[in-house]
Structure formats: C-alpha cells, structure tokens
Symmetry: C2
Amino acid sequence: MRIGIIGTGVVGRTLGSKLVSLGHQVTLGSRSKDNENAAAWAEQAGADGHAGTFAEAAAFGEVVLNATGGTVAVEALRAAGAEHLAGKLLVDVSNPLVFGPDGGLTLDPVNTDSVGERIQREFPEARVVKTLNTVNCAVMVDPGRLAGEHNVFVAGDDADAKAETVALLGEFGWPAGWVIDLGDITGARATEMMMPLWIRMYGILGTGDFNYAFQRAK
Amino acid sequence: MRIGIIGTGVVGRTLGSKLVSLGHQVTLGSRSKDNENAAAWAEQAGADGHAGTFAEAAAFGEVVLNATGGTVAVEALRAAGAEHLAGKLLVDVSNPLVFGPDGGLTLDPVNTDSVGERIQREFPEARVVKTLNTVNCAVMVDPGRLAGEHNVFVAGDDADAKAETVALLGEFGWPAGWVIDLGDITGARATEMMMPLWIRMYGILGTGDFNYAFQRAK
C-alpha cells in the first residue's frame, strides 16, 4: 500500500520505517522540500521510502497518517491539501501539548473538543480515525515489547475507516482483541486527555515503555 | 479511627459502610440536618455509624473524606468549616463532572487546574490527598473484585498524608504496590482527566467494574 506520512519527527520516522519494513511504500512529508530529517530518513529507508512536501506525501498516500504535533496538525494538513485527503483514511496519532501558565504541559484543545474532531471538521471528506496517541512511538509499532496484554483505542465516525485502521494496527502487532473502539470521533477527547497521566508516568518510570490495560471483574 | 465523610451519595455511603465494617467510627455529613440518605445509612450502619451536618462530620473526623461531587466540593467543605479541617488528612475522591455544550459530560476545572488543587488552595492547613477518583465506589472499597493487579493513584503535597492514605487504601484491600504516587497535588489533574475515558469505557462495557493497570517493558 502507498502511505503518506505528514510530519518528519521521531513519530513520523518510526511509523515510516515500520511501514517500509512491512512492505509498504512510504512518502514522508515535511513543510519544506529540503527537510534534512526527511532526506536522511529516505536515504536509509531504501527504495520504498521517499521524502517530499506535505502535499506530495498526501497525494502519494492511499492512506495518510498525521504525525505532526496536535497544535499544528490542522495547519499542516491544510498545506497537504484537502483534495489529497478526500475519501482517504486519515489516521491521526497526535496530541495537542502546549506549555501551560505554570510551565507544565497542558492540552489545547481539551475537554469539549480535540485535535481528532478539529481535523474531521476541517476535512469533512477525509475519513479520520484517532488512534495510537496514548503510547509512545516505540510501542506504537511494537506492542510486543511490553509484557502481557494491553490496549489501544480507535475513535472515528466511519466504521470502514476504523476497520482499516484495526487491520493496520494488526500489521504493527496489535491483536484486534487489544483494540478498543471508543465510538465516534469525539472519543478522541478521552484519549488525548490521558496525556497528563502519561506524562506523569513517564516521569515516574523514566521510560515511555509502558501502556494501560484494562482489568475486568473476576 | 474517627472518620468524617462529606457527602451522602452512593460514594459516601459505600465508603462509610466499608469503614464501619473495618472497625472505624464514621459520621456521614450532609448539607441539612434532616437528610434522609444519611439517616437511613446511620440506621443500618449500627452503633459506629452516625449522621450529621457537614460541620459535625468534619469536626468528628480525625480524617475527613470528600465524597461530594467535584463541582460542589469547595462549597461543601466551606460549610464543613476550615477550622474542622486544619491539620487533618483530607482525602478527596471527587471528579468535577458537568454537562458540556453538546450534552456530554465534561470537566470543570480541567487541564490547568483540578478539584484537588482547588481544595488545597482553599484550605491550606488541610493535608489534601487526591485518590480513588479513577474507579467506581464498588472497586474503591473492594479492589479484589477485579481480576489481576490494577492501579490506583495518590497525589498530594504532604508526604505523611500520602503515607496515611496508602495505609487507608491498604485497609480497603489495595496492596501498597498497586498504589502509584503521582507527586504533588497537581497530579490530581491527571487522574481527573481520566474521567472521559472512564465514562466511554463504562458505556462500552456496561459496568463500572473495571480499572486501569500498567504494563511495562518485558
């Protein structure tokens, strides 16, 4: 499959490398044509990894992944071009982290809105699915690195898009039974709002190698 | 130990009954002297269960538990009286749920503040610990009803108050190793912001009998 990734940070590059290793063709898109991260990534990724602009990556992809920061996601996707997103599965893995008044990380939007919803509103013809934003990128593409069963979420308005996302998660190593469907795209609020706990736990554990699991009644 | 519980809803009554069963003396405090919930609870709780006003419950307790809703907690504790909270462990188990503009449940405060912090600011001489607000009251007092290991959090500015809370959680059945210390009272933001996910999961599972656990690297 051809996949366009918007964003050349560690999340975008990690997703890109995993997708190439799985046999997909990937274009990693950046704001400017001469992004060094993207060029270096494409160089090491081999014949199936390409670097381009946001618009080139989005046009290339049958599926598009947003791996920019949540606070700049809508702007980056505008640069990618609504015409290159229409009808496509658009997977959003971002969190809208911003430094708050007391210097700690906070979310914007939060509570009554989310990045996932903003993207879906801005690009109504894209089929947006929020997922993977509750784990760091090492766990995103290798859930087996953690002990035992643990969970990831999908939220989106389009059932087929969620099913395609669950299949993609399966390629990453997430059994379908570990994926929890939170319903429509407003479920993105719930997963983005898990970030403050994730950040605290990262500070306590000294690693991003952890994830949530659900325990049920005996 | 003498424990004052502020709030006569299902959370307050469940905590009260468990504490009486553990051998503590409990006064369940309500806004008005003639609260029927509190009177009925005291009737069935026996000699160690009493009903009173917010102020009577707080004055009675060596430890005070806030089991009112998070949006009315500060007002209820003002009625309880700062002089009855000073120096005491004040355990806050509330969440500030309010209906949002689209009819769904949202949080107020959120993101840059929390109920736990508001209570600590309003009653600087109380030793506030946020805990248990991430699980429903059945799980609060009987964590063994769920399968396997799962986690609960404490957040507060006073280390001794957190140690006393961990001991109280131990009486409820929470092994100390299941309790995660999130640091100072601003950690209350992180746990209160887990509510949106909890509410979604409650809708999906059809029960409040679940909790989060952390999976670590192999």
